[in-house]
């Protein structure tokens, strides 16, 4: 049995915020595919849980009036993978969503839980970072909207205040419109594995030049990162093989990979360069460009 001392199951967001406001020590549980495993392993115990599973309003994926794609924090990965709006506007996120875990895990695990865990390997994080996504956080007293880059505080740590809940992920129109994208997850198995490295690329092509390029990396540093130097280098440049190779080299610069049992630091650096090159080339193709000589 799980070491749970109390279980709150609010059915509305307002009720959840009220409970969390009054009991800031509660552990929030979304899909449970991380929280319950940590309990099973004994690294989390005696917890009072605030379950968000009964809050239907948090599962919605919708297009807002200003062209912002809003993804409810409780949307499960399977739903994100299959959703028409996601497939149409941010197919790269669909690609990342289906790379996470296996079918049974994707059916319950949520995108909000994936982010709030703070895991650097989170398949959705590097992709949302590349898409310039914003996070909508709410407490009983108010809300704030922050960029992905401000959310991660360190390995396994995110900037959520007492009583604060991640409510939705917002992808503004400028984040996705006209962009081609590619997410490459490198792992030992094709399913049920944690990324050794994750590379997410989105780009916009005009007259076979990079109008815009954004690269997000997972497991390349203590938190998911962006490759701003490589992105700045690409801007306005003609798309050639040499250019893409240079972008990939620059993508390694902001990384600080560590040696773990999954892979050494050197190997991860090698992966960043090789996979960034492949991901950029494919993203260019999907954006209607070509990076042949």
């Amino acid at each position: 049995m799980f070491d749970i001392c109390e279980l709150h199951e609010p059915e509305t967001l307002l009720e959840a915020k009220r409970i969390f406001h009054d009991n800031p020590d509660l552990k929030v549980i979304a899909g449970g595919t991380d929280v319950l495993i940590r309990m099973q392993h004994g690294s989390l115990g005696g917890a009072g849980l605030l379950s968000l599973r009964s809050i239907r309003e948090l599962e919605e994926i919708q297009m807002l009036g200003d062209g912002t794609l809003s993804i409810g924090a409780m949307a499960p990965f399977t739903k994100i993978f299959q959703d028409d709006l996601v497939q149409k506007h941010v197919p790269v996120l669909s690609e990342a969503a289906v790379s996470m875990g296996g079918p049974q895990v994707r059916n319950v695990a949520t995108i909000g839980g994936n982010l709030c865990n703070g895991a650097v390997s989170a398949d959705s994080a590097s992709t949302l970072f590349a898409l310039d996504a914003l996070l909508k956080l709410e407490t009983l007293d108010g809300e704030r909207i922050i960029p992905m880059g401000d959310f991660y505080a360190g390995p396994g740590k995110v900037n959520l205040g007492p009583g604060e809940l991640l409510v939705a992920i917002l992808i503004p129109r400028e984040g996705y419109e006209g962009m081609g994208g590619r997410y490459i997850k490198y792992a030992m198995r094709k399913a049920m594995d944690i990324a050794t490295l994750g590379v997410a690329v989105v780009c916009k092509v005009r007259d076979n030049r990079f109008a815009e390029l954004r690269i997000g990396l997972g497991v390349a540093a203590p938190v998911p990162i962006r490759c701003f130097e490589a992105e700045a280098y690409a801007k306005g440049r003609e798309i050639t093989l040499e250019c893409v190779q240079e972008i990939a080299r620059l993508a390694v610069k902001p990384s600080r990979p560590r040696t773990s049992w999954r892979a050494s630091k050197d190997y991860r650096e090698h992966l960043i360069e090789v996979l960034a090159q492949r991901a950029v080339a494919e993203a260019v193709k999907r954006a209607g460009g070509c990076c042949a000589h």
Partner: protein, 173 residues
């Protein structure tokens, strides 16, 4: 709704769900997984406990038709839902077409992973979608078979999907 466990007191919750077509109402402990309740309280021992951490898929059940790992799913969450275990697949002693396909293809060795795989395959068949070879493998990727008989399992799933499509084609319009 709050279910509280004050020091030393077990927190209980009334759980009403449908299991294999039958309405079930029991009092559970909030600390129980759906796997615990199905196996130990309701005696559906076809739900297998393997890894207990959502890796192996032996504990897979269908929740409102969708495969989930019952070992990392709180029993409390199943309130109001419809659960299908392997015991609910055969009807009146008659194997389902998916079970028949597993038998025909010899897709069973020790049998421990079989209930979960039959349920995931059933979910695919009942979705009414068609699946490519790679998609079938992807949909079954949350299951581990330590007899390593994956080839025949995939063939059984593809046979079941093929048979289901044929049945639809041949049914009177």
């Amino acid at each position: 709704m709050l279910t509280k466990n004050a020091a030393g007191v077990t927190a209980r919750k009334r759980l009403a769900m449908t299991v294999n077509g039958r309405a079930v109402e029991i009092e559970i402990d909030i600390r129980e997984s759906l796997l615990d309740v199905l196996r130990d309280r309701l005696q559906f021992t076809g739900v297998k406990q393997g890894c207990s951490v959502g890796e192996c898929g032996a504990c897979t059940v269908l929740l409102d038709g969708t495969p989930v790992n019952s070992c990392i799913y709180l029993a409390a969450w199943a309130h109001g839902k419809t659960v299908t275990t392997i015991e609910g697949i055969a009807q009146d002693g008659q194997l389902s077409p998916v079970q028949e396909a597993f038998v025909e293809e010899g897709a069973i060795q020790c049998g421990f992973c079989t209930p979960g795989l039959v349920l995931s395959t059933t979910a695919m068949v009942e979705s009414g979608h068609s699946f490519t070879h790679d998609e079938v493998r992807r949909e079954l990727s949350g299951h581990l078979c330590r007899c390593t008989g994956y080839q025949k399992i995939v063939e059984a799933a593809e046979r079941a999907l093929r048979d289901a499509e044929k049945a639809v084609d041949e049914s009177p319009v």
